[in-house]
Symmetry: C2
Subunit: 467 residues, 2 copies
């Protein structure tokens, strides 16, 4: 369900106050009166966020957070502690256990709601990036290490003296490298696509046209830094102003707002958690990419598979049409491949396919398209190629396969040949779109391949339209 | 490259002014002096955004936009028109051709930079959602219709009279349904997960603690509305205030800021473009989901594939451990399946596998896990099951396969049987994590399967640890 928020408090009036407020904001409030009930409901109802009091009759709030974090079903649910009882010790214990934020009485309601929006938005972003819940499972077989590699934390400020002091204070509490930089440096990539830091801690100056919040928006709009952790370090003392700034920071996508008078221990705890979340999200994104890559690839040869070859060819055709250039399509088929399988077995047949794919790849450019589109059939597309050039490439591919025997795992030396059909796609020759052009050229190459087969194999035939 | 912005202007001083400003903001400026050069550079350098003057020596700026939009390589690059010459006719022509925004002299530099950030951020979001550029190709084979289905546009306002007038004005210019709602209604789902509109046009009131911008943030944080189109409708007349509000709206993720004094024709053009972009992004997301689903499924039977079965089983084991419950794992293997393939051919063998998968599926619950993990081998996991229940399920599966002959496509009636190995996973029985538990239970089920095979097949064997 969308926007389900679990309120955990043993005092009925507190629960009701939250319920009314959340209901008015169109959230779906659920209520638990104790820690065990909270844990049960968190598993069963899977709320999107938990508002947790620390003083509970059965379990301590800190213990509840620990158990939520230990359970794979609930470990990612954001938890905001809202409690009258928050000594410094309590705050630290809650953060250490894995709370996302701690609000002590009396809190700023607007700010609390902004934090709710902010955490819900991050959670949806993560789900989107993971391509839905099921895709996230890809990574579940791999052990989730909670202690990732050390990161780089950037203190973004123009006041070097206070930054140096902060680095001295935080240094012993963190394993990460802490660097100090100005606003402009934060946007510079170390190298293309590599950001200058994992977490940016941006000091705000409280002046109108606030540079710090603008930098936050800027970092979120850049490819290299959009998934970085971002903390706003505020030194505003007036409560209302600080609240308004923090509200805006959360809505702009900050991961935390830190008061510069906070203890170093609390800062370190918060930074550690942000880094951990960021590294987890990075890994999820990588796994998504891996999953997608696998969906596109033929597992045997590592080439693009049939399903992916046609859209890829359509893209190539679309570019050719737009640029008014031609492109070549070849269908290459191993000759009498069934006899290899029959005589030597499938393992040897597979080894032959892998080696043929490798030789094709070695004789094509990175911009060419190479896919395995059938058992022993390959599709090759060469952009910006005319007939002569394409024919030379096709002939070379034939020769490279025939030239050297392939050594099978069992030691057998197997010589195979390929037949190739070649067709040329030209913008304007057919009155159709890129997809239509791609499939008609492939069809022509297929027909030409048949002619190669009937002409005795191990040869290149040019489609009639191109000859 | 990250943050590459192409400046197109035939006046050298204009280019230089932009170059300095963009460079200072850590973007990578490129420059073109005319329309043809712009088109060439857009294809070759693939900038992330184009700042385009309308008065060019060779092509009109409007024609440049048209050509950019017609080329699949450049059609998604955001274009901001920045031009001295912008009569109402020019603005409309530029928007109609597909410009994302039009800034006329003199413009607010802060606002222009906010719009740049805003468009870059949307672009990266789209790329993220598409799982990278390659994944987007999945959809390219399907024709991209530029005219999607009519949408629902919500005018969010408390001033019903002006909203009614606006609906009367916009109605004849759009195919979409226009509804009027208050702020609270915007957050209500029509049904779970279904938003109340495709585009929200939010009227701001200009009061402190602005409700309109808060609603914008709120919509972006909700699952149902986070990908909706959102326009801010501003009636501020003071230039500086309007600029500050628009800057903030763009940084919070608005898709457009519309001045309430704008002509209805211009509003309609902008709304149409936002709807088109939104519908395209929706389709890309769906395609990504499809791609991922395919990566998880066995194409023959539609069951989960081997690669996906283990993480899925690990998740199931993790839940069982956390809840202190047991679960059952079965490995089911078709008996003497090779003889089916040898005698009837692979097509018939495939038909048998499909029917076996179907019968298994019919006799399991939705919460059970069913995967094809080998040629004729299936993995079944049943959560919350003890030995007795699991054994009853396994025996039933055996019976269901043996009970009726399978009709092959050629009309042959083929009777097959399965052997099953069954093991039970219990929290606490092994001192390991969920992944370790999942693989050890699978291993036990595998061993038990071997015993079923040696015991004469078509039978269920319980692993020693569970018996």
């Amino acid at each position: 369900m969308d926007g389900t928020i679990l309120i955990v408090d043993d005092v009925a009036t507190n629960r009701i106050v939250f319920k009314v407020k959340l209901g008015a904001a169109s959230y779906h409030p659920l209520m638990a009166t104790g820690g065990l009930e909270c844990l049960r409901m968190a598993r069963d109802a899977r709320p999107d966020l938990i508002l947790l009091d620390l003083m509970l009759p059965d379990l301590s709030g800190v213990e509840v957070i620990r158990r939520l974090r230990a359970d794979p079903v609930t470990c990612d649910i954001p938890v905001i502690v809202v409690s009258a009882l928050t000594s410094l010790t309590d705050r630290l214990a809650a953060l250490e256990a894995g709370a996302d934020d701690v609000f002590s009485k009396p809190w700023d309601d607007q700010l609390l709601m902004a934090r709710v929006r902010n955490l819900l938005r991050s959670r949806q972003d993560a789900a989107d990036l993971a391509g839905g819940r099921d895709a996230m499972l890809y990574g579940m077989a791999e052990p989730v290490s909670d202690f990732g590699h050390p990161g780089v934390l950037a203190l973004v400020t123009d006041r070097t003296d206070s930054a140096l002091q902060m680095r001295r204070d935080l240094g012993p509490l963190l394993r990460d490298r802490i660097v100090i930089m100005g606003h402009a440096d934060a946007l510079l990539d170390v190298e293309p696509g590599r950001p200058s830091a994992d977490i940016y801690i941006i000091e705000t100056d409280g002046k109108p046209g606030e540079r710090g919040l603008r930098l936050l928006s800027d970092l979120r709009s850049r490819l290299a830094t959009r998934h970085a952790g971002i903390c706003i370090l505020s030194s505003r003392t007036a409560l209302a102003e600080a609240g308004a700034e923090a509200t805006m920071a959360f809505d702009l996508g900050a991961d935390a707002v830190i008061d510069s008078r906070m203890t170093s221990v609390e800062m370190a705890l918060r930074l550690r958690m942000i880094l951990r979340r960021k590294q987890r999200a990075d890994r999820t994104r990588e796994q998504l990419q891996d999953g997608l890559r696998l969906a596109m690839l033929d597992p045997l040869t590592g080439l693009f598979n049939r399903r992916f070859a046609m859209p890829k060819l359509t893209e190539l055709a679309g570019r050719a049409v737009a640029a008014g250039r031609s492109f070549a399509v070849m269908i290459a088929d191993l000759d009498r491949f069934k006899s290899v399988n029959d005589r030597y077995g499938h393992a040897t047949g597979d080894a032959v396919l892998i080696e043929v794919a490798r030789r094709f790849g070695q004789n094509l450019r990175g911009s060419d398209l190479l896919a395995r589109v059938g058992g022993e059939e390959f599709l090759i597309a060469v952009p910006d190629a005319g007939l002569e050039e394409a024919q030379a490439i096709a002939v070379r591919l034939c020769q490279q396969i025939e030239a050297r025997a392939i050594e099978a795992p069992g030691g057998e030396q197997i010589t195979v040949t390929v037949s190739i059909g070649l067709a040329i796609g030209c913008a304007g020759t057919v009155d159709t779109d890129a997809a239509g052009l791609a499939s008609s050229v492939t069809e022509e190459a297929d027909q030409a391949l048949l002619l190669s087969k009937t002409a005795g194999r191990n040869t290149v035939t040019i489609a009639r339209s191109a000859a």
